[in-house]
Amino acid sequence: MRKSLHLALSLIRIPHLAISLFLFPLLISLVLVFVQLVATGLLVKASSLETATSHIATKRQADLSTIRRILYGSANLRSTVKICRWIDDVEGERPPDSECAPDRLDVAINVSDPSSFDPSKYVELFNGQVDRLHVCRTCQPDVVIAVDSSGVARSEIYSMYGMLVLSLPYTKSDLRDQKIQLMRNISDVKKSFGELHLHLPDVDGGIGVSQLQGSVPFTLNIGLLVLIGLWLALRAHRRVLDYFSHNNVLLPLVAACGKGPFYTALWMLTLLRVGCFLGASIPMVFFGLKDIAGPKVFETLEMPLWQLVVWLLVLITAFGLATVIASIAELKHRHSVLSFAYKVMPILIALFGAAMWGGSFILPTNSMATLRLWLSAVPVVGMTPIFLAPIIKLPLIPLLIHGACSVILLKWALTHNARWFAAHLEEV
């Protein structure tokens, strides 16, 4: 063990390995976790009526006026919008007076006949938001709304400031009030139903639909962490082997260190890599979820801690099996034109299982419930229900069967292919 640790620490000193094994994937993974958290945040915010109404209400002026501050240097509403109908003379089209001299932050409405166009709809939208509304044939500030004879509009934006100008009408207080009212109405409907419980034959006590707001982000985030961790682990193995193999040093190095210490060192590097990732991402996810979904997010899971740990272990073995199968299949058939098909085979099988599992909900019968339990117990095929176990309250027995079968298959896949790997070490 000491020898392996020594070897692992020596190998980290190779700059290429240190960067490709730790730094680069760690950054990528953390970005992925960040994106995952942002997506979760949006999901939670979008599904939470209370949060949405309070969000809109509290940010009434403060946040939304930021755009005006950027554009005009002041958060205050602009004075009443001035309508400038351009006129034609011998020199061509020109503004009616000196106060209508066009500015980049104005809005222009390009129509074929400015004198007869009714701009009231646009006045209502831009009043207090921009200084001038030009009705003209060809004038061009940063925002040009071209309206054809049938009234169909098309906006041409010539700068990022133009994008901000066009976003101003969305910040109008009456629009926000309408939004808040809509949210409140939906909230009232929701309150009149109280807590929702979906009863299925294979779920004791039903699924608390109202609780999903907490359990869904939690489950998705944990599941994705496991997936990224496994992906990192798998890639670590391949990356080290590929690097040594490309440099032709794999055989001499394995021979010099011994197969056992070399592979143990490889595992250590893998664990170190996954450890670095988890060490950085778990606190990020924990505090992120707490911030996004509220401090009660961890209480919404209707699962005792030990069951949560069992789920995590089963999830790791289930995903581990799928990734190992994909990796071995791709490695053994990498010279085949269809090598990519081998790689995605477990995903396709899992999707097939997911389709069957999801389809079984159409018929609310006991036989379908039994089918769901069977599907959940089958490795790879039942990956979707295993992934969603905390949400759908999957019973313990199929969970344990799935985990046990995955461990057995994982061991079989590794031992069965060990001889092949040893024989083709320099070709890896």
């Binding site: 290429h16 040093v249 055989l251 190095l253 021979a255 011994g258 040893a422 070490l425 320099e426």
Partner: protein, 250 residues
Amino acid sequence: MTDFRVSLEAHDLSVRYTELVALEIPRLVAHGQIIAVLGHNGAGKSTLIKALLGLLIPHSGSLQVRDSDGLILRPEEHMAFCPENGAVFADISVESYLRLWCRIKHDNPRYYLKTGATYVERLSITQLLAKKGRELSKGQRRRVQTALGFMGDPRLFLFDEPFDGLDVQRTNDLMEIVEEERAKRAFLISSHRMDVMERLADLVLVLRNGSVASVGSVPEVCADLTHGLVDGSSRSLTDAMRSHLQSMRE
């Protein structure tokens, strides 16, 4: 000078790649200082080396190397291996590679400057220290790997095609080093250079389709391979191997 000898022992050995039998040696006990392993492509030379290094697990039987004291040689402790193309990381300097290797083998990154300095000098590595692996020729890469192998102070040095592509001067240099080192360690060399092997080897092992076609001293093997041909025993190893390959084709 007392030469260091090893004995290569195989009993009911069978090494397979899944279903394909790559090496099958019912019984072999051969003693030598410089063992030449000869054979056509696919004869089982690389399989034998990998099996000796413990990289391939025999399907059945055993394969081991003992020194003159009867001690079984372990790959990571007593053996070194230099592959055909040489083995140097493309993106790190030779010096960094030497340091890394010495750190792994001796827990001392500066070992190559002290104990290993002889080999660094003898194999003309000094002027290559600052170069990266990708800047080295095949011969230079092999010299670096050879130096590293010697620095591990192995009792058995396994060479895969060490003379392939070397000019006359480098071939003679390497032969000279092998000759000098034979007092301290044994060599197992897989090579197509019959002329060199004839001069170096004291034991020749000829493999044919995964089994031993002939084993013994150079004259013994020559006689064995050309048995039935006109004055077989007087032929050179090159001619004997040529006859052997010819007979295989026929």
